[in-house]
Symmetry: C2
Subunit: 419 residues, 2 copies
């Protein structure tokens, strides 16, 4: 008998029929004797419906009232799911975040969980109840309803699993696991049996939107085994674990390839190489609340001049260019601004990289063989990212996927045809 | 400066535009320096939408989960109204029933208020906040969300007014007050300036659906001045007061005429007049959860036989007839069942009746002059009800309205034409 926390997102509970299907799935686990806590989001579309009404009334509603409003979305789902479980003869009780004792700070619309009271929850589980909890919400010390921000239901699930020392936190979603790369770009992409928390964080922050980063961090911090599964088909999904031994059974050099073509590159050329040049370039960008991702600085061999390159989100491109031209260049006393928004970032991610030299040089060789120029490089302990021309994105991902042995086995390719 | 509790029903907050209009109205009172507590219902249609989803999932949802579900309706309204008040520059805070401390018993879907904690509420009012409270809901001693049953928002308003010793509880609705009778039946019907609680209870239970009976009882018990007003147009509305002196300034014999054509009449004729005959007739009816309204029993002058007549709701007519035929007549050892579902009940209501003899005889004479036969009579201290043929309903109401001096003055009739 195990204790599972199971989280179902908005799409998984998006209609009366889907709520019934979730109840069937939960009943299956109960029938095997497991203890189950279910965390649910608002039915898909509901949160947007509420926000739309608010926007018609007040362009800048206070965060407290927004939380009061949108928290009703999950409350509807928990009661409907409890009813669906009752209909199947499964004992179940629903709780709002406030009722179950998910205590947060008072940062409305982006609150952080401080502690969770588990006594009542444990009593219910001992009685054989399925406990249905509203995700995404909590209560502050004053009794105000708070929300954890969009996608925060994953965090609720992981936090409950940590507090209850659950055997696994299962995140049900519309994909059947974490893939080596996006199957829409590379047909040979393979579902991973497991991946480490660190790798998942790199994959997530680079654009794989399976899980909320915050929930993965939380799972790593509290050592909660996290599993991503499909709500709609059976299968083992992908286990996200802090334990590298479990994750590395397959022993690949790299676990996956993340990519992102939502960034733009900006370069300040031939600017005087004086102390503090980096902060004089990035200061005004940061003041405008623009986030910078990759940063590379080269000093010209002739000395005295430096080139400074960085990337920002594509929709910050024009504004960043303007700030550089109008504020930075005058303040530096010289230099030239170049920009390119037709770029893509491709990253290899894997804890295996730590102990194996040569991943970078192999990556560069594969890209060179395909005639792909590398515009920027940035590395971390378990990741190498390169910026290339956007038009080479698919080619780069597919070549690297094959070269680093991530492709499905032949048998799996047969499967693919019948999918 | 006064303290008002203002309750707005589902129609009054039925759209974003109407919520904005309510905010404007509340702002008007705040600008005059009054302290305001606003109680709101769910937006019209919302509760039915939620119940419909529930019914697709479970034919008999548990009352606890129903309360969890439908209580979201008011929670949406309070947050939207607070946002609308903020937009107008009015300080406001919303509270669910649980947050404001409306403690109830655990009778889900029909809970009764036990006490209300007012400390926080008073603090907010002192700070100049408009306090926006979700009607219809509370919390039991275990922290479960409860609801007071449909229409319970009126009760929330009156209970808050009682707890805060408010100067007035104002119920905003889609009519502009309590009328002498239904204006759709009698064009000369006149809005009452005031009416006593007792009279209002008789009017309400006889079919005037302006206010929930329970809220009126509550107002009487705790001596809360209650005022019914229109959400959509300005005007003084009707004051419902326990104080007969205030109410009787106009000194009419009767205050209003209530009527109802939703009942059916059943008679058991020529049944042996033995002790306990009434309970032997009504016992099986009551066992079937059928409510009986008027009851008349006549003993035949020849002795030994009795006629027993009573009324039930029209949609219980067939079942009641069957019970009488199949169970009661055999058990009585004789008798004959007659039924009539083409009847109407017309009632004169007024505390003035207490001190004036002759209201009944005058009523009977007016009806006789119009050729209307009276089928049944029943009286209480402040009410006389007669049952007549349904087809005479409008004629009876209009004749009595004129005969008892309830018609509008001529000036008002002019008003009527321009309305």
């Amino acid at each position: 008998m195990a204790l599972y926390v199971q989280k179902f997102g908005g799409t998984s509970v998006g209609s009366v029929e889907r709520i019934k299907a979730v109840a069937e799935k939960v009943k299956g686990f109960r029938d095997q004797g497991h203890q189950i806590v279910v965390v649910v989001s608002a039915m898909s579309g509901e949160t947007n419906r509420l926000i739309e009404m608010a926007s018609q009334i007040n362009e800048e509603p206070t965060p407290r009232e927004m939380d009061m409003l949108v928290s009703t979305g999950e409350q509807v789902t928990i009661s409907l799911l409890a009813m669906a479980l009752h209909q199947l003869g499964v004992k179940a009780t629903s709780y709002t975040g406030a009722q179950i004792g998910i205590r947060t700070d008072s940062a409305h619309t982006r609150a952080r969980i401080q502690r969770i009271e588990t006594d009542e929850l444990r009593d219910d589980l001992e009685e054989g109840q399925v406990v249905v909890v509203a995700g995404f919400q909590g209560v502050d010390s004053e009794g105000n309803i708070t929300t954890l921000g969009r996608g925060g239901s994953d965090t609720t699930g992981v936090a409950l699993a940590a507090a209850l020392k659950a055997d696994e936190c299962q995140i049900y979603t519309d994909v059947d696991g974490v893939y080596t790369t996006d199957p829409r770009v590379c047909a040979k992409a393979r579902r991973l049996e497991s991946i480490t928390v660190e790798e998942m964080l790199e994959m997530a922050s680079l654009g794989s939107k399976v899980l909320q980063i915050r929930a993965v961090e939380f799972a790593g911090k509290y050592n909660v085994p996290l599993r991503v599964l499909s709500s709609f088909e059976d299968g083992p999904g992908t286990l996200i674990t802090a334990d590298e031994e479990i994750s590395n059974m397959e022993e690949p050099l790299i676990s996956g390839i993340a990519f992102n073509n939502n960034e733009a590159k900006l370069t300040v050329l031939n600017t005087p190489d004086v102390p503090g040049v980096a902060s004089r370039i990035l200061g005004p960008i940061s003041d405008a609340n623009i986030e910078v991702d990759m940063i590379v600085q080269n000093v010209a061999p002739s000395g005295g001049y430096t080139d400074f390159t960085f990337t920002v989100a594509k929709n910050d491109f024009r504004q960043t260019q303007r700030i550089l031209q109008e504020q930075v260049i005058p303040s530096l006393g010289g230099g030239e601004v170049r920009g390119d928004d037709k770029i893509a970032k491709v990253s290899l991610v894997g804890v295996g990289m730590r102990s194996h030299a040569g991943v970078a040089s192999r990556m560069f060789r594969v890209l060179a063989d395909e005639g792909i120029n590398i515009r920027m490089v940035s590395t971390s302990e378990i990741k190498i990212s390169v910026v290339i021309d956007e038009k080479f994105l698919e080619l780069a991902v597919r070549s690297l996927h094959t070269a680093f042995g991530l492709d499905k086995a032949d048998v799996s390719e047969e499967d693919e045809k019948t999918r």
